[in-house]
């Protein structure tokens, strides 16, 4: 099968699952991906400037423009909907053999219950599309971006530390710098202002006394908020050793998917994290359903606790399907859950659960060519 034949095969699998075909806007305001995902995505984003100087971007995937349309549709009232597409997406190459543009064939579901069986069914569908294209997965990497936050919540730390840890998990570096910085002492005149009857007036007086102008978009109230968080972090005394050990142990988890529920439960038990039980129960249920629907995953699928933490708008189950002859950075299929995406795109005017997955026919052609 050539590229177009693979596109047709994969598309038929997704259309049979009840997806309504959609081909949304090619061009988006660059603000949409950049505000949603941050500058980290800019390195891969095809950006140009329109005649008024506004930055626009070619769609880097189909999820964003489909979700943008869905957010607009939901303004009229909530209802669940499934979409499918076979459409071009555009990214600046990260490797010499990466194309600028490529076709993604995929499926997106919005507004359905975010339950383990929904994750498993979506995964099974994408897996079936890969197999229908004549490619047998060499390995499948899975992750769950809800597990780390659940462990952090179960550690029973002050909320300022909890927030820091959750953000640090999604960033490139480690958590140590974040925690150490927060616990450095503050100047005494600044601290005194925080306890004044009107903290804003008092901090304003500190500025005047130090001959410091207030420039930029952050207000005095926001600076006071930041100072109070710093003070709370100092009083909280950083991260207790047991909590640090628990998070380090969690980050190291890398095992066959079949073993993951037991591994994670044992970890939670060792550190007494009963608060993570609900998340771990949902996790175990999802693994069971995945293995029932895709028995081959018993052999090919693994779980990595840190996997997908840089996938910017995903917030739950995530997966990538790898095939023989391609680099680990070139999955033939990928997908996951993004329950916060619609809310993020609409400025929280509407919200809906979201889950989706895509296959890459251009890469599958390469796998088939190498004879694997």
């Amino acid at each position: 099968m050539n590229h177009d034949a693979l596109v047709a095969v994969a598309r038929a699998v997704f259309e049979a699952a009840g997806g309504t075909p959609i081909d949304p806007d090619y061009v988006l305001p660059a603000d949409i991906p950049l505000e949603l995902s941050g500058e980290a995505v800019r390195a891969r984003l095809c950006v140009f400037t329109d005649n008024r100087g506004a930055e626009m971007a070619m769609r880097p995937d189909l999820t964003l423009p489909v979700a943008q349309r869905e957010a607009a549709r939901l303004e009229a009232g909530p209802s669940a909907k499934t979409y499918t597409y076979a459409a071009r997406a555009f990214r600046l190459p990260a490797a010499p053999d990466d194309p600028f543009e490529f076709t993604q064939v995929g499926l997106e579901r919005f507004g359905y219950a975010a339950v383990p069986s929904a994750d498993a069914e979506l995964f099974a569908l994408v897996h079936r599309a890969v197999e229908a294209c004549g490619v047998s997965p060499k390995s499948i990497v899975t992750g769950d971006l809800a597990i780390f936050p659940a462990f952090i919540d179960a550690l029973d730390l002050p909320s300022v530390t909890t927030d820091l840890l959750k953000r640090a998990f999604r960033q490139e570096g480690g958590v140590r710098a974040v925690l150490d910085a927060a616990s450095r002492p503050l100047d005494t005149d600044v601290l005194a202002a925080l306890d004044a009857p009107d903290a804003e007036v008092a901090l304003g007086a500190v500025l005047t006394a130090r001959v410091v102008p207030l420039v930029g978009a952050r207000s005095l109230a926001e600076i006071i908020g930041g100072l109070r968080a710093r003070r709370a972090a100092i009083e909280a005394g950083g991260l207790p050793d047991a909590a640090r050990a628990a998070l380090l142990a969690l980050r190291e988890v890398d095992c066959p998917l079949t073993d993951a529920p037991a591994t994670l439960s044992a970890l939670a038990k060792t550190y007494g994290l009963t608060g993570a039980d609900a998340a771990l129960g949902a996790f175990a249920s999802r693994v069971e359903k995945i293995l029932a629907l895709v028995p081959g995953a018993r052999r090919t699928a693994e779980f990595r606790a840190g996997f997908g933490r840089r996938f910017t708008y995903y917030d739950g189950f995530v997966f990538e399907v790898l095939a023989e002859g391609l680099a680990p950075t070139q999955p033939v299929a990928a997908g996951g859950r993004y329950d916060g995406l619609i809310a993020g795109l609409s400025g929280a005017r509407v919200s809906a659960t979201g889950i989706g997955g895509v296959v890459r026919p251009d890469r599958m052609v390469r796998v088939r060519r190498t004879g694997a």
Partner: protein, 228 residues
């Protein structure tokens, strides 16, 4: 490009100091067509000499259209797509020194470090519904450093000049810019973060790693490098 190509800054103090350095190693520069000419010769060297802006020199060294050049490390680091492996600094020249720094308003008493900036950025996004703006002309350098320091809550605003004024004019909240004494930053109500020095830059005699060196060019290069 069989003949060796060397680029020298075309104007300003950087040019004068480069000329003085070349003279000091026994290869003085002779400009053709007077002060305003854009070609020159280097005494005792069979090489094509081009007078270019520091940015063009950095770009040419990275692309491989120049063999050698004198330019600022700040520009080399910023323009190199893959970082320091895209060029080879043979000699730091001890002039043109400046730091590339991350600076925020002095009034941000809660922000002293990159980690504090991350926290402020996250809170800012929650209350304003947009990300903190960082003005700079060093787009790649900034992106790389912010990622290394785990700061993701920001948007870059490309600045063409007078970056230090961006916070007071409201076009950005944070800047990444070059500074020598810090006086300009201070005058604009800004402070450098504790771990905000991204790069301590100097003018550097630099070799391209992409340019091809023929036997002839190699011999001239050896003469020049041998003179250091």
């Amino acid at each position: 490009m069989s003949r060796l190509t060397i680029a020298i800054p075309s104007k300003g103090r950087l040019k004068e100091q480069t000329e003085a350095w070349l003279a000091s190693i026994g290869h003085p520069l002779r400009q053709i067509g007077g002060e305003r000419g854009y070609s020159a010769e280097i005494d005792g060297l069979d090489a094509e000499v081009r007078l270019l802006s520091a940015r063009e020199i950095a770009q040419g060294l990275i692309e491989g259209s120049l063999h050698f050049g004198v330019t600022g490390e700040d520009l080399l680091h910023d323009l190199a797509p893959d970082g320091p492996e895209d060029f080879r600094v043979l000699q730091r020249l001890g002039f043109g020194g400046a730091d590339v720094v991350v600076a925020v308003p002095q009034a941000w008493f809660d922000v002293d470090s990159m980690a504090d900036l991350e926290a402020a950025g996250a809170a800012f996004r929650k209350s304003h519904g947009r990300r903190l703006r960082v003005a700079t002309k060093y787009l790649r350098l900034t992106r790389r450093y912010f990622a290394q320091k785990s700061v993701g809550e920001y948007r870059l605003v490309e600045s063409a000049g007078a970056t230090e004024a961006a916070p007071s004019t409201g076009s950005a909240d944070v800047i990444v810019d070059i500074t020598t004494t810090g006086a300009t930053l201070k005058a604009n109500g800004l402070k450098v973060l504790r771990d905000g020095v991204i790069l301590q830059s100097e003018a550097a005699f630099t070799q391209s790693v992409r340019a091809s060196f023929t036997g002839e060019a190699r011999a001239v290069a050896d003469t020049l490098v041998g003179a250091f």
